[in-house]
Symmetry: C2
Subunit: 346 residues, 2 copies
Amino acid sequence: MDKYRIAIVGSGIVGQELARILEQRNFPIASLRLYSTESAAGAIVSVARQSYPVNALGHTAEQNVFRETDSVFFTESENTSRHWVPQAVQAGATVIDSSSLWRLEPDVPLVVPEVNAADIEFHRGIISSPGCSTILLNTVLFPLHKRNPVQRVILSTYQSASGLGQPAMSELVFQTQQILAGESPRPNLFPHEIGFNVLPQVDVFLDNGYTKEEWQLLEETRKILHNNDILVSATCVRVPILKGHCQAITVEFKNEITPEIAGDILAEAPGVRLMDDPSVGFYPHPRIAAGTDLVMVGRIRQENFNLNGLVLWVVADNIRKGAALNMVQIAEEINKKGWLKTKGQR
Amino acid sequence: MDKYRIAIVGSGIVGQELARILEQRNFPIASLRLYSTESAAGAIVSVARQSYPVNALGHTAEQNVFRETDSVFFTESENTSRHWVPQAVQAGATVIDSSSLWRLEPDVPLVVPEVNAADIEFHRGIISSPGCSTILLNTVLFPLHKRNPVQRVILSTYQSASGLGQPAMSELVFQTQQILAGESPRPNLFPHEIGFNVLPQVDVFLDNGYTKEEWQLLEETRKILHNNDILVSATCVRVPILKGHCQAITVEFKNEITPEIAGDILAEAPGVRLMDDPSVGFYPHPRIAAGTDLVMVGRIRQENFNLNGLVLWVVADNIRKGAALNMVQIAEEINKKGWLKTKGQR
């Protein structure tokens, strides 16, 4: 079996989780190097079986840095991806990028492996991993959509601090401690206080009143499902929890559907865990989703007075399936097809 | 001006807030007595200008306890209301009840004063105050509905621990401290851990998969708006905050509507505060809503691809407008009409 020379750009929460998942899933690694434009060189990241020094990635052009690399996972900011992804591609590496930069580019596959792994085929060096909210939504939507076309989705999210990275988690913890001590926190990474608070803002606002996070749920879903007729309207909200994203989703289908049929479909769906016996308190919530790989779904019920409508409650670990795991799954799909070792073949 | 002999049943967070609001709004009080079936007699509740001893309300029949009372506010459990409200009515007092017991009874007005104060007229001793989520929703919905009939509402809530009372707030604080100290909390009042967690359950589940809290949003809204055609589908969710409830609301109207028109209507609407300039971070959130009287609304935008649809973000103090303030406003309306002093007149 081929083994691959892997690089991860970003030593934050997603980068670390990536290294951990590559180990956990026994990805065939020849070498694994961690880079960061943000951390000081010399930092050490320890995952389950190994420790990795973090190599500083300067902002000057060093075209050869990825020369000896088969695949690079980018997990830092759009700025980092904008500067370094083209260099990695030029050096012949296959890039899996979590930034939103290329997600809607026609020649860049945007992939949730359970949904559209086949799209990887048309990649020209970059495969994009969708936003965390998009990944959760589409993992659950797709198996239903295959059987009964989805026409309209209205959703509200409950997103954890970790979606903004480790410093945001620290800010939530610190603010919480301050409030418990009777002090008044001062927001830094969040637009307002996040400790014991709820903020209806994730990412920046667009002219139409939606945030970028809300709007990309529409555009990314259409690209992933290959369907430009689906209507998606989202309200994305930050809640004061550390890990796990939740979604309250109302879906209108083309034809009639029942909660029983949807439950049967989702019980068999890849990447999904059905947890739906609310009368005994059996439904997903972030505390039990953190650290797990599946997108949990429960509270499936008929939308009041709408035989074509369902309401669902979806929860997953936003750092794993919402980011790092989805990227590793993309790499696994590429590896299955033997497309990862593309050096000199493009 | 007439002055009234007032009793409050319940010395918890809503009962205390009621006493405070009656003082703040200079309600014409001849006497104010606090009762509780839960607290030990002899407890003292202090509000802004005064302290009140709490009188124990035994579970045995004491028909004369409300004999010298003009109006009784019930803020305890359904069990307390079931036992004591009929006795208060029989003693000739006018009851304002916050339990869900009589909310849907045809001869009991269910009142949000900004919406349907006139309904008070048909009361026969009991006026019900709606659930906190219903009050928030209808205060915002009604001014829009008057101009352009509301046909369908899909909403998700973000509800604070205080909706379950002071002990639930203490449980959230204690669990948060435990988690910060690396300990594992054990849930008591909540069905699962609430510290740094999100729970898609408020109240008990019905056979149709909705919770009672979700279902009553439909039935109470229809009664308050005098319209049995309105469709309401809700997902009610508990979030780890102390005070304030939020709602992400999608509304379909009979005719086309724009965010600008809705904003103009809501800017003038009684009980509503428009806070809608998201580009500078100006939108409602629980931290700024706590302790205030108005239902705040912001993030008003067109639903994607639906000229008859709007999306709104609504926040209010669930203990004030969501409970105690609404009850005082009902009493004020009754007082305006001179209906409070009804002893011997029914």
